[in-house]
Amino acid sequence: MSAEKKTITLNMGPQHPSTHGVLRVKLELDGERVVTAEPIIGYLHTGIEKTMESMLYYKAIPATDRMDYLAPMSNNLGYCLAVEKLMDIEVPEKVKWARVCLVELTRVASHLVWLGTHSMDLGAMSMLIYAFRERELIIDLYEACGGQRMMTSYIRIGGLASDLPADFEKKVRNIIKTIREKMKDYDKLLTENPIFIMRTKGVAVISAEDAINYCLSGPMLRGCGVDYDVRKANPYSGYENFDFDVPLGKNGDAYDRYLIRMEEMRQSLKIAEQAIDGMPEGPYRAHVPGVVLPPKEDVLYKMESMIFHFKIITDGFKAPVGSVYQAIESPRGELGFYITGDGTNIPRRVRVRPPSFVNLGALPILTEGYLLADVVCAIGSIDIVLGEVDR
């Protein structure tokens, strides 16, 4: 170490209480002020993309759960929509509405975890437990649907894994009612809390220009006032039928992003309510023999269904030659799946555009020149999931 070195190097993570998993940030500190910040990733690398390239199309769905484990339904949906686009499958109306309902509730669940951990990072410890308490309702709904609480794999190619449970509507209405009620408490605890405002206002600011240059998406981009939401820009799964607002920020600071995510939760509840109100009747899977699994009831009683079931499970289906890109608005931003089919039953290439990874790239801009405590605030307000960053 040279004598004139005036800064200290602080290694934050990969084992650190508020790096949300195994993010490592190499900080150069001048006192408590951050001179440079360098995010170092890869500690959770699991090779999910490569794994998906060696699997039958439908078998890759559980792998998508494990990327953004806080929003499994969104990942399922993104992947399934991409494969459906490649295979040119049109899903029934009911499936579209059910998917929208589930994905929006997933957004609420994911934002609740973000809310809890972000405020925990800022020292408001009770919020973590309150947020997880409400999230539990949504996790219970997952369990009622597909039997899994976190790694749902409920959305499948061409439909859903099984029909919606009988009390789906009742459960969803209860979730909507409860969370709407509890969000008033959150507002009292945080939104109007002077300390919280002091900690987040004017902290981790990014300009709209930088945000676009860094290719940010989701609340990170909308926090700077850029109106881009995949649900509005390129509607998928029938989002054009729903009435909702896309909240926008002005200053691009952590407080604006906080307000946006809180408003997104309200909007998501509104969308879920519309979806449950207008849920059409119909089958829960598309009828595409040889590609989409026939319903389980048919498999037990119909010969052809059983053969197709057996064929799809063992051999999968052959995808045409060609590439598709399908993006959805995941809780963290634009989640895209790029899939290249080569005529076999295994994709040639699967590439994910992970919103967390891209958003994390802006960490140096968000933290340099701020204090050490703001680094924690910045990481929290990016809302990263390391499973998705490293894949």
Binding site: S119, L122, G123, M198, A373
Partner: protein
């Protein structure tokens, strides 16, 4: 100085240390239980009825843990730091009047006053001793040889120095009103009626005192020195076993101490109707401890620079204003 004086004082000291250490242990229980109820949880419930033996279990665990001393520490300072932070926390209680005159159910030959030492400069003694506590944290941070500890130590020293000023000045108001530095006299001046309590004469002083007291004791929302989401554990990151628990105990002893000072200066000390004075003293302290825990469950943490700004730019002028106001009113 008779033999009786020595024996009685010794008994009082032994009793006080015993009660204080138990109180520290059960403050952790109280904190965990109340936090749990504020957060929809149950809290400790396995060790003993209602988890009442939890502090004992925690203590045993900490005693039997290996005492790890990392390679790069300054050994002497590292070993000394927990003690340095622990002793001042206990010392404050030497001058706090915890009861009126008592004879311990007739065990003592003659009634004795309910304070270990009735210093005529008790308030000054408190200032002096509370300022010493910070050395423990600074030394711990510096000697640990870890960057997180160092940052925690620096934070705590900066924080304590800035809040020491407001802390001391907020009490000056009370001294002006009471015209004495003896805590026993301050308490007896407040007895008789609820409205004799100095909180009614010094509301602003009390507000400043309580904020500074929380900052002095490194508690949420001012727990920057050990902010676990930023500095892992701050100054005591490298500590383990009993050394760690000494920091832990001194934190709670400090909380109890500043609560006791607040009760003595603003809430009439042991004064109260019906119940024996010692009970009133304890009830008032418990109420303060509850406020501490309540704040911890509710507020986010301040940032370093905001904390300093708040101390120097808000509390310090306010405390000065309070002194001038009090002095002016006293002259009139």
């Amino acid at each position: 100085m008779s033999l009786e004086f020595f024996i009685v004082t010794f008994v009082k000291i032994a009793l006080l240390i015993f009660v204080l250490l138990t109180a520290c242990a059960y403050s952790t229980y109280m904190e965990r239980k109340i936090l749990a109820y504020l957060q929809n949880r149950v809290g400790p419930s396995y060790a003993g009825p209602f988890g009442l033996l939890q502090p004992l279990a925690d203590g045993l665990k900490l005693i039997f843990k290996e005492d790890i001393v990392p390679d790069r520490v300054e050994r002497i300072t590292f070993a000394l730091a927990p003690v340095v932070s622990f002793i001042p926390a206990m010392l404050i209680f030497a001058v706090i009047p915890f009861s009126s005159e008592f004879d311990l159910f007739g065990l003592l030959p003659s009634p004795t006053e309910g304070v270990i030492s009735d210093l005529s400069v008790g308030v000054l003694f408190i200032f002096a001793v509370t300022s010493l506590g910070v050395y423990g944290l600074v030394l711990a941070g510096w000697s640990s040889g870890s960057k997180y500890s160092l940052l925690g130590g620096i934070r705590s020293s900066a924080q304590m120095i800035s809040y020491e000023v407001g802390y001391a000045l907020s009490i000056v108001g009370v001294v002006l009103v009471a015209n004495t530095l003896s805590l026993t006299e301050i308490v007896s001046l407040q007895s008789g009626s609820l409205f004799n309590w100095y909180i009614f004469k010094q509301p602003l002083g009390f507000m400043i005192y309580i904020v500074c007291a929380i900052a002095e004791t490194n508690r949420a929302p001012f727990d920057l020195a050990e902010a676990e989401s930023e500095l892992v554990a701050g100054y005591h990151t490298e500590y383990s076993s009993m050394r760690f628990s000494m920091f832990f105990i001194s934190e709670y002893a400090n909380m109890l101490a500043v609560s006791a000072v607040a009760v003595t200066l603003f809430f009439g000390g042991w004064a109260g109707p019906f119940l024996p004075p010692i009970f009133w003293f304890l009830i008032k302290i418990l109420a303060f401890m509850f406020v501490y825990i309540w704040l911890r469950a509710t507020f986010p943490r301040f940032r370093y620079d905001q904390l300093m700004d708040f101390g120097w730019k808000v509390l310090f002028p306010l405390a000065l204003f309070n002194i001038m106001l009090t002095a002016a009113l006293e002259i009139l």
